[in-house]
C-alpha cells in the first residue's frame, strides 16, 4: 500500500505530539532510573593504619582489582575504619587524602646514583646499587672501626657511619634496623623522635 500525503502528515504530527507532550513539562516517571554506583561497592577492603601521625587511626583501603594473576591492584579510596576505638572512622585531611599518597605518580621506581661533583642523577639497577652500597659501607666500616679505645677497653664500634630513620617504618623493620646495625657496630643512630 502507499501512504497518502495526508497519512504521512498525521504520523508526523503524532510523533511530534509525543515529543511535544514530553517536552512540555518535566516528566518524573523515570525517577527510578538505574542507581549511581557507589564507587567502592565492588572494591576489596584492606584494614590498615594511617601512615602520618601517631594517633594511629584505623583505615580501610578500598582496592580495585581482584588480585588475580593478570591484574595490578590499585587503591581507589581510603577512609577511616569505623570499628577503631581510636578514630571511630574519622580522618584528618592528611588521612583523608591517603589515596593520593598511596597511588602517587611522584613515587620513584628506579634507584639513582649521583657521582661526586655531578649535577644530576643517573638511573642504576638494583644489583649495581646494592653492591655499591655494601662496598661503601664495608670500606667505611673498616676504615673507622674502633675495637679498643684509647684506654684499651674493648668497644667494637664503627665511628664512621651514621644511621638515621625511621619513625615511618613498621615495628618489624625498625627492629631489623636495630638488629642489623647494632650487629654491624653502628653507634650513631637516631630517628624522628627528636626532630
Amino acid at each position: 500500500m502507499t501512504l497518502s500525503r495526508r497519512d504521512l502528515l498525521k504520523g508526523t504530527a503524532l510523533a511530534a505530539g509525543g515529543t511535544f507532550v514530553s517536552a512540555l513539562g518535566f516528566d518524573l516517571k523515570p525517577a527510578y532510573a538505574q542507581s549511581r554506583e557507589l564507587k567502592i561497592s565492588g572494591a576489596r577492603e584492606y584494614k590498615t593504619v594511617c601512615p602520618y601521625c601517631a594517633v594511629g587511626c584505623g583505615t580501610i583501603a578500598y582496592v580495585h582489582g581482584s588480585g588475580g594473576l593478570n591484574t595490578t591492584r590499585s587503591v581507589i579510596h581510603v577512609e577511616g575504619d569505623p570499628d577503631s576505638p581510636i578514630n571511630g572512622g574519622t580522618l584528618c585531611p592528611k588521612g583523608a587524602s591517603q589515596m593520593q599518597l598511596a597511588m602517587s605518580p611522584r613515587l620513584e621506581h628506579t634507584p639513582k646514583y649521583r657521582a661526586a661533583g655531578s649535577t644530576e642523577w643517573e638511573d642504576v639497577d638494583w644489583e649495581w646499587a646494592m653492591s655499591w652500597f655494601a662496598r661503601k659501607y664495608k670500606d667505611s666500616r673498616d676504615a673507622t672501626f674502633v675495637e679498643r679505645d684509647a684506654q684499651g677497653r674493648r668497644v667494637n664500634r664503627c665511628e664512621g657511619i651514621g644511621w638515621v630513620g625511621s619513625a615511618t617504618v613498621t615495628n618489624e623493620d625498625a627492629y631489623l634496623i636495630t638488629k642489623t646495625q647494632r650487629a654491624l657496630g653502628i653507634v650513631f643512630m637516631d630517628h624522628q623522635a627528636r626532630i
Partner: protein, 289 residues
C-alpha cells in the same frame, strides 16, 4: 527525553522547572547534617574528604594571608573552610565555618532554575544538581541565598555539594561527616539532628556562650545542613545571613508574573485574530484596475 534524571534511585520530591508534581509514592526519612562550630578545629578534613570522595580536581591555590585554602568555593571546591578572626570586647575568636550547600528545604537555586530536572530535591531533603540537564545559565547562583553554586567556565555547568548522594543512597553518611576528626559534623535524620543541636546549644550556654544558637533558618524552610553557632551574635562574621529567604523579592515577583506573561502574548495573538475577524484587512484600491 528532554530531561535526563539524576541516575539514582532516590525519590524526588521536586525538580527545577517542573510543571508536574512528584509522584510521591515512597517515604523515607529526611536527613540532615549538623555542623557544630564549637567543635570545629578548621582542620579541613571535610574539605579534603569531599574532594577525594567526589574526585574533584585540584583548583590551584596560593596563600593569600590566611589559613583558608581557596578564596572562594569553586566548581571543583564544593566545601571550603572559611577563617575569620574576630575580636569583640577584647575577646579574640577565630571563627571557622564550613561553607557548603545548606540543602534548603525551600531551595532558592531550584526555584530559580529554568532547566527542567537540572536541580532536584529528593524526599530525604538533599538538593542535587544534575549537570546533564544544566544549561549553564547560572541563575541558580543568584537564586541561592547563601551564594553556594559555582559555574565552571570549562564545562559551562554549575556545581555544588550533593551531600554525597551516592553514599547516602547506599546507607553511608556523606564523606565530610564520616571524616570529621572532632565529630563537629553529625549526620542523621533531621529530627535527631535538631534534637542533638538543641542539646548542644544548651551545653554551650551552660559553658557561658549565651548567644549560642541553632542555625536552621526558617526563611528557607530550614536546611539540611544546620549549624550550631557558638557566637550567634556574630552571624555576619560567619557570613551567615540572619534571615535568608528563598525565591523572595524580584524572584518571587517573577514567579508570579511569568505565569501571566506567556498568557499575555497568547491574548495578544488572540486579539489580533479577533481584530482581523472584526475589521478585516485594509487594502488600498489598486491603481488602474
Amino acid at each position: 527525553m528532554s530531561a535526563q534524571l539524576p541516575a539514582n534511585g532516590l525519590r524526588i520530591r521536586r525538580a527545577s522547572a517542573s510543571a508536574t508534581p512528584a509522584p510521591g509514592i515512597r517515604e523515607g526519612p529526611e536527613y540532615a547534617k549538623l555542623v557544630d562550630i564549637s567543635r570545629c578545629i578548621g582542620c579541613k578534613g571535610c574539605e579534603v574528604a569531599c574532594k577525594e570522595w567526589n574526585e574533584l580536581g585540584i583548583e590551584p591555590t596560593a596563600n593569600f594571608g590566611s589559613y583558608q585554602s581557596h578564596q572562594d568555593l569553586g566548581p571543583n571546591t564544593w566545601l571550603l573552610m572559611r577563617f575569620t578572626e574576630s575580636e569583640v570586647d577584647g575577646q579574640l575568636n577565630w571563627l571557622i565555618k564550613k561553607d557548603a550547600c545548606l540543602h534548603c528545604e525551600e531551595p532558592g537555586c531550584l526555584l530559580a532554575c529554568p532547566a527542567p530536572g537540572a536541580i532536584v530535591q529528593y524526599e530525604n531533603g538533599i538538593v542535587d544538581f544534575n549537570q546533564a540537564n544544566c544549561i549553564g545559565c547560572q541563575l541558580c547562583v543568584s537564586g541561592c541565598p547563601f551564594d553556594i553554586p559555582r559555574f565552571s567556565t570549562e564545562t559551562r555547568k554549575v556545581y555544588k555539594c550533593n551531600m554525597c548522594i551516592d553514599r547516602v543512597e547506599a546507607g553511608l553518611e556523606p564523606a565530610c561527616a564520616k571524616t570529621c576528626p572532632t565529630n563537629a559534623i553529625a549526620w542523621g535524620t533531621k529530627e535527631d539532628m535538631v534534637r542533638l543541636a538543641e542539646q548542644k546549644v544548651e551545653g554551650l550556654r551552660a559553658r557561658g556562650l549565651a548567644n549560642a544558637m541553632l542555625y536552621d533558618p526558617p526563611g528557607v524552610g530550614g536546611t539540611h545542613m544546620m549549624y550550631v553557632v557558638p557566637h550567634g551574635d556574630q552571624l555576619e562574621q560567619y557570613d551567615l545571613p540572619a534571615d535568608p529567604t528563598a525565591g523572595a523579592g524580584a524572584l518571587a515577583l517573577l514567579g508570579t508574573v511569568r505565569k501571566l506573561g506567556a498568557s499575555a502574548l497568547g491574548l495578544g495573538i488572540l486579539a489580533a485574530g479577533l481584530h482581523y475577524l472584526g475589521f478585516g484587512p485594509q487594502a488600498p484600491e489598486e491603481d488602474g484596475k
